[in-house]
Amino acid sequence: MAVVHVRMDNRLIHGQILVSWNSALRLNRIIVCNDLVAKDQLQVAVLKAVAPAGVKVSILGIKETVDYCLSPEGEAEKIFILAKFPEDGLGLVENGLKLPVLNLGNQAYIRDSKKVSNTVFLTEKGVKALKKIHEAGIKITCRMLPDSPEDEFWPSIEKALPEWAK
């Protein structure tokens, strides 16, 4: 079974969002994916404490995430990957994870980012990463919750940030 959903959200675990996704997908494991976060013991502790009940949580770097998902243990689980940035999503693809779709669920404003929508602010690097994802034939959605529409989101990025997307 392995990876059932990949969400890119730079606020990671917040609010009731993962609770909703877990209700819909009945997950075995959430993997929070980002190299820096995985090395930060305090963030790891807080993330494990705020994860929804009944789901195992791992906080791993990009390579470790891919290795786990491709392992026999990973294959046997329904895994939700919560990547922090678009660059992490791209890293998963470039390290060998075959994914038909990546959900750009939420990107809060950070320094040097520009607005694409109320829930998505992107840096130039983020746009470039998403462009590579798009060019690899992978669908990019923008879904906050399980019942959000599954429309292709790349055109919205191109329209909002044409200079970075070209």
Partner: protein, 137 residues
């Protein structure tokens, strides 16, 4: 005296401090931090630290946040876990009753006592009209 920092989404911290001061008068050792859509989340931790430093009198700081598991909590928890000793504590589910109770009684309290007070006063502030003697209907 201990210090108090409120960290919430949007204008909630600002609003609660405003309401609290109407009831309990102006309070010096209280600061509010709001998380707004157009502000960086990574700046949130440093804003909270600045507020903590401003209210700290050397006897500890209590951070009260609106919701468990949301960004104000995540940032405050990381800050508390990395603060020396037991000088910073975090309580979630901030409401006006616990805030007013605290600032009207905290003069001589230490951090542990203040935390126990708000943990009790928060839920006690939630009552149903019909459960109140004489007001059954």
């Amino acid at each position: 005296m201990i210090g108090l920092v409120l960290v919430c989404h949007g204008k909630m911290a600002e609003g609660l401090i405003d309401a609290m001061q109407l009831i309990a008068g102006e309070q010096k050792a209280v600061r509010g931090v709001g998380l707004y859509e157009t502000e960086g989340v990574e700046d949130l931790m440093s804003k909270i630290q600045t507020a903590v430093d401003e209210v700290s009198g050397g006897e500890g700081v209590l951070i009260m946040v609106d919701l468990f598991g949301a960004s104000p909590f995540n940032a405050s928890a990381r800050l508390a876990l990395s603060s020396p000793g037991k000088s910073v504590e975090v309580v979630t589910g901030l409401n006006l009753p616990m805030l007013v109770e605290l600032v009207t009684q905290w003069e001589s309290m230490n951090l542990t006592e203040a935390v126990e007070l708000v943990l009790k006063a928060g839920p006690e502030g939630i009552r149903r009209l019909s459960d109140i003697k004489g007001l059954e209907h």
